[in-house]
Every structure is written in C-alpha cells, then in structure tokens.
Amino acid sequence: MDRFLFLTLDGLSRGAVYAAFALALVLIWRAGRIVNFAQGAMAVAAAYVAYSVTAATGSYWLGFVAALVAGLLLGAVVDVAVMRLVDHRSPLNPVIVALGLVLLIHAVLGMVYGNEYLPAQTPFSRTALTVGGLAVLSPYDLFVFATVGVVGAALVWIFTRTAIGLRMRAAAFAPEVSRLLGVNVSGMLTLGWALASGVGALAGMLVIPTELGLHPHAMDLVFVSAFTAAVVGGLDSPPGAVVGGLGVGLLLSYVSGYAGGDLIPLAVLALLLAVLLLRPGGLFAPVTARRV
C-alpha cells in the first residue's frame, strides 16, 4: 500500500509536467490547427539556454527565467520566420516543416554543446519527505505542482479574463470576422506560438532533471508521452490535456514501478494505439460521425 501511494504521488508529479507540455501542444493546435512536432526540440533548446546562463552566473533562477524568455522568443521566431511561410492547405506540410526544425535544432545543439548528457540541476532536493513513516513527495515535486498550477491558472486567466485572451480566441475561431473587427489575427497567432513555446520550455525545465540529464534528444519520449496525453484529452480541450497528462503520468509510474522502467516506451505506444483506435477524438470529445 505504501508503494502504491508513493507511485501514485510520483505519477501525479510526472503527470503534472506532461499536462503542461500537452497544454502547450493544445494551445498551438487550437490557435492554428498545427501539432507542433518541434515542441520537444524547442523545449530542449530553451533548457540548454538555461544551462549556459546557470553555468555563467551560478544562479539556477536566472537560468530558469532565461529558459522561459528563450522559449517565448523561440516560439515567436518559429511562427514568424517559418510557419507563416508554409502552405497550410495540406495538413502534411506544417508537420514536415516542424520535423525539419527538429533536425535543425538537434544539430545546432549537438554542434554547440556536444551529444553527451550534461548534468541538469534542481532548485530543491529530490529526496522524498517522510510523513508518519511514509515516503511521500519531495520538495521538488511540490515545486513542480506549484509551478504547473500557477501556469495553468495564468493561462485560464489570460484566456477568460483579459482582452488579449479574448482576441486570441476570436482569431482562432473566426479569423476572417476577427480581422474585419480589427483584431491583428497573425499577431495573435504569433502570440499563441510564443505562449505555447514558453509553457513547453517550462515543462522541459521541470522534466529534464528527473530524467537522465540534458541531451539534444532528452525530450523525444516526453514529447510522445505528452502527445499521447493531448490525444487522450482530445487535442482540442485544455482541461482534457491536464486530465490526460495526469492519467499518462500515473499509468507510466505504475508501469515502471510494478513492471519495470524498460517497459515505459512500450506502454506509451500501447496507450496511444488504444486511444486512437477506440476513441480517436479523445475521451472528452463529443461523438461525431466519421466523414468517410
């Protein structure tokens, strides 16, 4: 029972990061109908920026802020310099271009930092606190929950309470009408990319220290897990992404705790396959008729 509790809490902590990363995917999907396959590589790039800043200044928090800023900027640059120029009539085109970005980012990181694992710092201890003889959460887990919670709340606030959030939603749902009403639609799209990439960078900063360390490919499996989480939630729904992320985190924690960490990739693939075959629209999507 102790073990179950520990795995559950660990899974929720892991799931919180997946939820944040899935949220980033959902943000871009809602804004521009693009699944950003370069999200993982962009997050790793931001984490490398943090590594450099931390190494230069000795402060984790300066690096953390630098990663967020780098994430925001990278998202905006990717939209303005690349995605805006792509012909969006075929859904294949943005996907292929994003994959080109993945290769480019991996290559540049490999050239600058080398293809070895670099150590990634945590601001708080990762040893679990014990409450009444039970090992529960580590201070770092609490930090993860708090950060993801704050980001989630901030996103909800931006999209529901601010004028800019309203404009972003309008630009996504009715671009033509919004443009007529004076909304800068392409600017809103760029802002959406920046926000999503910033959230992705944050998720990267949180998850990389818990894995093997900093490496150009560090986010590959995280991306697949988060994509699975987003698909479980239905790609279109932010609450779905959060629930999906927590669910995927729990599942992977149980699999690695009871069956062995080697099986995590297989479990992710099995879950993704099952969801796509049984409920392709996700658990939260209304039932729609298939077109063909």
Partner: protein, 367 residues
C-alpha cells in the same frame, strides 16, 4: 494536399502516349529500364574502388526504403515517421535469421535470399498492424502514432536484450563472394551486385504497382477520400495496402543495410533515420519514384560532402567531431524547411519543370 498534389501532376506515360499510337506493356518497359540500370551499375562497379562500391550499395539499400515511403506519402498521402523503425524490423530479422542459419552450420550463400524474404515478410506483418491503425487516422494523429513507433521500437531492443542484445546489437554473418568469381574479387563489388539485384526487383514491382489499378486508387484516395469512396474505392483497404507495400520495401532496405554493414544496432535506426528518410523523399520530390532516387543519393552523399567540407578547416579534434556528426543533420533540416516553403515539388519537381519549359521553347522554335 497541395504539396503532394502539386508534386504529381497528371503525366501521360509513354505507354498511353497518343502520338505513337503503339502501346508498350508497362511491365516490359519497366523491366527494360531495370535491365539497363543493372548493366550500368555492373559496368560502374568495375570502375569504382571498394569504398565507392560500398557507398553505391548503401544508396541502393536506402533506395528501397525511400521508394516505399514515396509510394505511401507521395502517392497515398499518408505520412509515416516510422519507416526507420520498419527498417530496423527488417534488419533485425535478417540478423536473427542469418545467425540461426550460422548456428545450424548452414553457411551457403543462397540462404541470404531466404533471410531477406523472411525479413520482408516480418516487416509486412508489422506494417499491417500499424497500417490497420493508420488507415483510421488522419494528418497529425497519424504522424504522432508513427512518431511513437519510431521512438519506441529502437528502445525495445534494449527492453528485450536477451533476443536483440541491447545497445550492442547483433552481428550478421554473411557468406563470402562465390569462389567462381576468383580469389581477389573485391567483396564490396559482390555486395553491390546483390543489393542492386534486390533493389531493382523491388523497384520494378513498385513501379508496376504505381501504374496499376492500385496505384490509381492510391492517388484517388490521396486527392479526395470522399470522391474516391464514391468511385467505388475501398478507402481503408487501399490505405492498408499502401502501408503494407511501403513497409515491405522499408524492411527490404533495412535488411540490405544490415547485410552491408554485417551488423545491426539500435543506434543506427533511431528517430533521426526516420526523419532522414522522410526528408530524403520530400527533397527528392514527393510522388515520383525518380524523386526517391535523388533522396537516396542525398542520404549517402551529404554526410560524405560535409566530411570533405569540415576537412577544409583546421579544427580541434573535438570540434571537428561535433561538426561532422551534426552538420549533415543541420543541412538536411534547413534544406527540408526551405524546400517545403520554396519548392514543394523537390528536386524532381524542379527538373520536370525545367524539362517542361525547355520542351515548350523547343516546340515554339520549330513552329
């Protein structure tokens, strides 16, 4: 579907050409082209040194995979990021088969054919499983699923390291060149011959498929699923067939690659290989088998070119190593983005456009 649609305008084949009025059977035409290509490769193999022969053989092995991916993505409109994993399936099957034969003391050269056939069958089986799932998925969902396959399958070799020997991988024992060719016959030349024969067989089959009823169904499904369905085409079945055919080709390509390198390890079949294949197909030109040739050449030539390029500068060994490993990736990624934005038809699209404009000019001058 603009990229794919633009990449494959309705071209008249020579067989349907209204000018000649004669029809050459498609199979005969493809066999003739394959025979000519075979003779050319045979002649070239005597001119090149061992290393170039090996490189040419690698191009041929990649060509199987890129041609298969062209059929799937270019003709049927399904994106697969998992072809690196399918190549791994073929490569590991051939390794396991050859090892099993070697353990039983069967070392004749002919068993390689059996191993290659088993590799294709195994990959077809895996491709059928993924393909059935893929036929229900569209756009980003399909890309995500195949991406998961590409990331997960190489990791399985570590999970089940009892069979696949983890990161170390397996050795692939291959019989030496036949004694009839002489004692001093370069082994790489023999490898090139074997790989070329297998690749040409694969290409002839694919080319015929593309020109057949199935090929037309692929294109119809790619361009408009609803219209294809109305025309009596079973959309899901067509997509599964395309996936299976494509998987079989990728499996053969992986098996040939394993045979060439005489070893397999998961590192060679990671996500990067899957992305490289897609890239090669897109840069070469989606929707044409000729584009697959350009792509395969690029896959082998680019690392070689960057190697020569980095040799021009005097760098510290560590920096040179970093640059050498990553520069091809950077060039590939950058080129892919530029091609998708500027010339969605790829190399072959540019060549066709060039040839088309030359033809128009020539006709104008004659009239």
């Amino acid at each position: 579907m603009s990229a794919t649609r633009a990449a494959a305008p309705a071209r008249r084949t020579a067989a349907e050409s209204p000018r000649t009025g004669r029809t050459v059977p498609t199979l005969l035409r493809h066999l003739a082209v394959a025979a000519v290509a075979g003779v050319v490769v045979l002649a070239i193999s005597y001119q090149l040194d061992s290393f170039r022969n090996f490189q040419l053989a690698t191009v041929a092995a990649y060509l199987c995979a890129t041609a298969g991916l062209t059929v799937l993505t270019g003709l049927c409109g399904q994106l697969s990021l998992g072809h690196g994993a399918l190549m791994a399936t073929g490569a590991y099957t051939v390794a396991l088969c050859q090892n099993a034969f070697a353990d039983r003391g069967v070392t004749a050269g002919g068993v390689l054919v059996l191993s290659l056939a088993t590799a294709v069958l195994a990959t077809v089986a895996v491709g059928a499983v993924v393909g059935v799932a893929a036929a229900r998925l569209r756009g980003p969902y399909l890309a995500g699923l195949t991406l998961a396959v590409a990331v997960v399958v190489p990791a399985l070799t570590v999970t089940f390291d009892g069979v696949f020997n983890g990161e170390q991988g397996l050795a692939v024992p291959v019989a030496p060149a036949p004694a009839a060719l002489g004692f001093y016959f370069p082994y790489e030349r023999w490898q090139l011959w074997v790989v070329t024969a297998a690749t040409l067989l694969c290409l002839v089959l694919l080319a015929n498929l593309v020109r057949s009823r199935y090929g037309r169904a692929f294109r119809a499904v790619r361009d408009d699923e609803v219209a294809a369905r109305l025309a009596g085409i079973h959309v899901a079945r067509t997509q599964v067939i395309a996936f299976v055919v494509s998987a079989g080709s990728a499996g053969l390509g992986g098996a040939l690659l394993a045979m060439l390198a005489q070893s397999v390890s998961p590192g060679a079949f990671g996500l990067t290989l899957s992305l490289f294949l897609l890239m090669a197909v897109v840069i070469g030109g989606l929707g044409r088998l000729a584009g697959a040739v350009w792509g395969a050449v690029l896959l082998v030539a680019l690392p070689d070119l960057t190697h020569t390029l980095t040799d021009l500068f005097t760098l510290s060994p560590a920096a040179a190593q970093r640059l050498e490993g990553n520069l091809p990736l950077a060039i590939f990624g950058g080129t892919l983005i530029v091609v998708m934005i500027a010339a969605p038809g790829g190399v072959q699209g540019l060549l066709s456009r060039l040839a088309g404009s030359l033809r128009v000019r020539w006709r104008r001058r004659r009239s």
